[in-house]
């Protein structure tokens, strides 16, 4: 049995320990916000946080998150929209929207690593693929979120 937490709740996985975290989240836990795009760590549609760092869940065997805290897109904004989610709405990033949960989870981690990213930082770190080509707005939304996070919490909600 593999025990870990998802969005603050304890869960136990009794099936195949090699099962990718992605399918445990989607099929067993019904958390379908995390998407499947390639199954090979190439697109980022399945990006979640494990102990606060971005991880591609399709290539993360569930046994490797034993004892760790997993956050999915459903958990990110549980206490009200995260500034990155707000920035995504303000820049109206989504087209089909399928990649966006992963983009947002990746961007949150990017801003954790580099709170004030340059264009080059974003190009290096935001590697999630978007088939619809929303990159111009992904970039803008990351800059907007960086600016919002740099402000005091009192102004954070503005968007």
């Amino acid at each position: 049995m593999i025990q870990f937490s998802v969005n603050g709740e304890a869960v136990a996985h009794t099936g195949d320990p090699e099962e990718p975290l992605l399918w445990v989240l989607r099929d067993s836990l019904g958390l379908t916000g995390t998407k499947f795009g390639c199954g090979a760590g190439l697109c980022g549609a399945c990006t979640v946080h494990v102990d606060g760092a971005a991880r591609r869940a399709c290539v993360t065997p569930v046994k490797t998150v034993e004892g760790q805290a997993v956050t999915t897109i459903e958990g990110l904004g549980a206490q009200g929209l995260h500034p990155v989610q707000q920035a995504w709405i303000a820049e109206d990033v989504a087209q089909c929207g399928y990649c966006q949960a992963g983009q947002i989870m990746a961007a949150v981690d990017l801003l954790r690593q580099v709170p004030n990213p340059s264009d080059a930082d974003i190009e290096r770190l935001q590697t999630n693929l978007c088939r619809c080509g929303t990159y111009t707005r992904v970039r803008k939304a990351i800059f907007r979120a960086a600016a919002a996070q740099g402000r005091t919490p009192a102004t954070e909600g503005e968007s």
Binding site: G15, C43, I89, A94, C96, E123, N128, R131, G133, R137
Partner: protein
């Protein structure tokens, strides 16, 4: 596409009372790809009127969005049309995705219940523009009439403000919710309601965000992959990787032993040469979870017959194209003036060939579908672009009455034309019939790249004659390609060109002597529509060639093209996107893009600007691309785009679609191709089919809209075709290197 206009009004507006005393209004209009009702549309069965506009007693307004949303923004822009004329506050409108609605009349003919449903060819906005506004205006008129009755005043003394009817003289006001129940009992107006003049628009023409934005960023939005039904099982399919190959033997002992595996179902492949139902023969593994099914799949031991195309390769197809073009004349598609004579007498002539490869759709959400087949009916939930095609397919496979087949469209994780076909619905249905439980079929990325309806590649040979004034006097364009009409029902061999060449495209009527020829190539690859279908290849060839001609006569490429287009004129345009092609509007977007990009201003060494413009499905789009090539490595610095799509209903989404066309166009031009070796596709995933990433995206992307005052046309496709030629024209300007083949990665390194 305009059949609705000829139907008696009463037949396409339906009115009913909502449960709880509100107002419901339904309308009809035809959609792409569905059976056109032959003559009459019967009244909907009693009590089955689904909502289209619903006003509840508390004033809440719900507008149904009938079309599948795959990123093109219709779930926002179509309801905006209704909301405008209904006169409601957009912030208070809730938009709901409508399921498919069909009905059968007393003569047994099927037709749409509320509105034609399905998306493709950038038609949704154009075909909805009039009828959806009329629907909104009709509802508003009924509400106003209800208020007039209540107050015993003349309807002419009343007006509306968002969400309410007001009587200026009497200083009275009633919210729509208070009037809805009465309005629903009134007879429908017999004359079309007056529509607002564009100057009165409050919603149309204003930028509005995606209606599902919050659901998307919180992971709540539902895609096909997220569909769930109680008791469902999961299925994956190991398909024959060889085109039209067959199953010889399967040993499934090990697969059945995998914990969670429930059943193995054989899927028969498509009949050779016949229209596709499914794309390949396969072995489905059904299990209690996606992962268990995938493990079972890996444990299968299968022997395939490699089928009739096991020798086909992309290199061979390319060679056959070259041979065909060299050997003889092709099928003459258009022949105007006297091309031979014109070439013989020309002071100069130029010839060049351009090549584009097969490409895949690669929707980020791989194909998937949830199907339940019961004794008395079926339920289909999935990323479905053509719901009626899905319903017909389930009917064909199960024999179930179409009225008992429920089709729910989730959001689609991308479309790009892939989901005009319903092969994945057929597969899920075949499995569900066997296992008698709801089946969720899931493709992986390899499945998706190996089994697609690929956009055909092709080789174009262009030749132009020039006179001593540097004008084009003759134009010969010969295309060798495998038509996307392959294995389509009812397309004759000599009609294959129609999917690949659009004879009314410029330079028709701009050049006195013009000939188009087509060489239909044989290939076993399944083919289909891919965003702006053949316009991508044609724009690449024609707009590159025009640039080459300009340089040949030492002219500025923009000035050369403007001179070719000449005075603004309207020409008939018989292919999709007509009936008119306006040279002035194409010149307009070229000029606007050039002006905003500061066309003609000096650039540093190693940098260059290219321009291209194209008319696609009613929309005119042009780009200026700026590149820098340093140490042989290409970087795209800036793209400036101009689009004339008539009135932009939601300018925000129009611009989003331009950005999408820019990035998709760039991604495809830089690195994408599907190749065939020994009858199988060689690309497996995003490492061998590397979609462009944010790092490829130019840092500066500017988009401008022309307000031409024309009625709106669709914007999903026009923004992609001119991108590739603008890019290669820029590379030429920067380096003198002319790249005539896509993808570029074969010819230039990327920074």
């Amino acid at each position: 596409m305009n059949d609705a206009a000829h139907l008696p009004r009463r037949r396409f507006l339906q009115l009913g009372a909502a449960v709880g005393g509100g107002l419901l209004l339904g309308i009809r209009l035809p959609a792409l790809g569905e059976e056109k009702p032959a003559g009459s549309i019967g009244a909907p069965p009693e009590g089955t009127l689904a909502f289209f506009v619903r006003i509840d007693p508390d004033g809440a307004v719900t507008i149904g969005s009938p079309q599948p949303e795959m990123g093109q923004g219709v779930k926002t822009s179509l309801p905006m049309l209704i909301a405008e004329e209904l006169d409601v506050d957009w912030a208070r409108v809730r938009v709901a995705q409508m399921p498919m609605g069909i009905q059968r009349n007393t003569e047994g003919q099927m037709s749409w219940l509320h509105v034609g449903q399905g998306a493709g060819g950038s038609t949704s906005i154009a075909s909805s523009w009039q009828p959806l506004r009329e629907a909104g205006a009709t509802a508003r008129q009924l509400l106003t009439q209800a208020a007039a009755n209540r107050w015993q005043v003349d309807i002419g003394s009343l007006s509306t403000e968002p969400g309410a009817v007001v009587h200026a003289g009497g200083n009275r006001r009633l919210g729509y919710g208070e009037l809805a129940a009465e309005a629903a009992r009134l007879p429908l107006p017999t004359a079309p309601p007056p529509l607002k003049a564009p100057g009165e628009f409050r919603i149309i023409g204003t930028p509005r965000p995606v209606v599902d934005a919050e659901d998307i960023v919180t992971g709540r939005a539902r895609y096909g992959i997220d569909a769930r039904l109680p008791g469902q099982v999961y299925a994956v399919i190991e398909r024959c990787p060889w085109l039209d190959g067959r199953l010889l033997t399967v040993d499934d002992k090990a697969a059945r032993a995998v914990p969670g595996v429930i059943d193995i179902v054989l899927i028969e492949g498509p009949a050779a040469g016949e229209p596709y139902t499914v794309l390949a023969s396969g072995v489905a593994v059904v299990a209690s979870s996606t992962w268990a099914a995938e493990r079972g799949r890996r444990a299968l031991n299968i022997r395939w017959d490699r089928g009739p195309h096991a020798k086909e390769s992309s290199a061979g197809l390319r060679r056959r194209m070259e041979e065909a073009l060299a050997a003889s004349d092709g099928q003459v598609v258009l022949d105007e003036g006297d091309v031979e004579q014109a070439f013989a007498g020309a002071s100069d002539s130029v010839e060049a060939s351009y090549y584009v490869p097969y490409v895949a759709h690669a929707t980020l959400e791989p194909q998937c579908c949830l199907v339940e087949v019961r004794e008395d009916g079926a339920t289909v939930i999935g990323p479905i672009q053509m719901p009626a095609a899905a319903s017909r397919m389930v009917h064909q496979l199960t024999g179930l009455d179409r009225l008992s087949i429920e089709v729910q469209m989730t959001r689609l994780g991308g479309g790009f034309g892939r989901r005009l076909t319903v092969d994945y619905v057929a597969e899920a249905t075949l499995i569900a019939q066997q296992v008698k439980r709801p089946v969720k079929l899931q493709w992986n990325r390899r499945d998706d790249l190996h089994h697609d309806f690929y956009r055909p590649g092709g080789l174009q040979q262009l030749r132009a004659a020039l006179n001593d004034k540097g004008e084009v006097t003759a134009w010969r364009q010969r295309l060798a390609s495998p038509s996307k009409y392959y294995r389509r029902d009812g397309v004759a061999e000599d009609g294959m060109w129609e999917s690949e060449l659009y004879p009314d495209d410029p330079p028709r009527r701009l050049v006195p002597h013009l000939r188009l020829e087509y060489f239909a190539m044989q290939s076993g690859m399944p083919r289909g529509s891919w965003r702006a279908p053949a316009h991508c290849a044609n724009a690449f060839a024609v707009q590159s060639f025009i640039d080459e001609l300009a340089h040949r006569v030492n002219a500025d490429p923009l000035q050369f093209q403007l001179r070719l287009l000449g005075e603004p004129r309207e020409f008939p345009y018989e292919q999709h996107g007509g009936p008119i092609f306006d040279t002035g509007r194409l010149a307009g977007v070229l000029r606007l893009a050039a002006e905003r990009a500061d066309w003609g201003s000096p650039m540093p060494a190693g940098s260059g600007r290219g321009i291209a413009g194209h008319f696609t499905f009613g929309g005119y789009c042009a780009y200026v691309v700026e590149v820098t090539v340093t140490d042989g490595k290409l970087r795209v610095d800036r793209v400036v785009g101009a689009l004339d799509c008539g009135l932009a209903v939601n300018p925000n989404h129009v611009k989003a679609q331009m950005e999408s066309g820019i990035h998709d166009g760039l991604s495809t031009a830089l690195r994408l191709r599907i190749t065939l070796q020994d009858g199988r596709v060689q690309q497996d995933n995003f490492d061998s089919y590397p979609l462009g990433s944010l790092a490829d995206a130019p840092r500066v992307v500017e988009t401008y809209l022309v307000d031409s005052g024309a009625a709106p046309s669709g914007v999903g496709e026009p923004p992609i075709p001119p991108l590739a030629p603008a890019l290669t024209n820029a590379i030429f300007a920067a380096t003198g290197q002319r790249i005539r083949e896509l993808p570029l990665i074969d010819h230039i390194d990327l920074a």
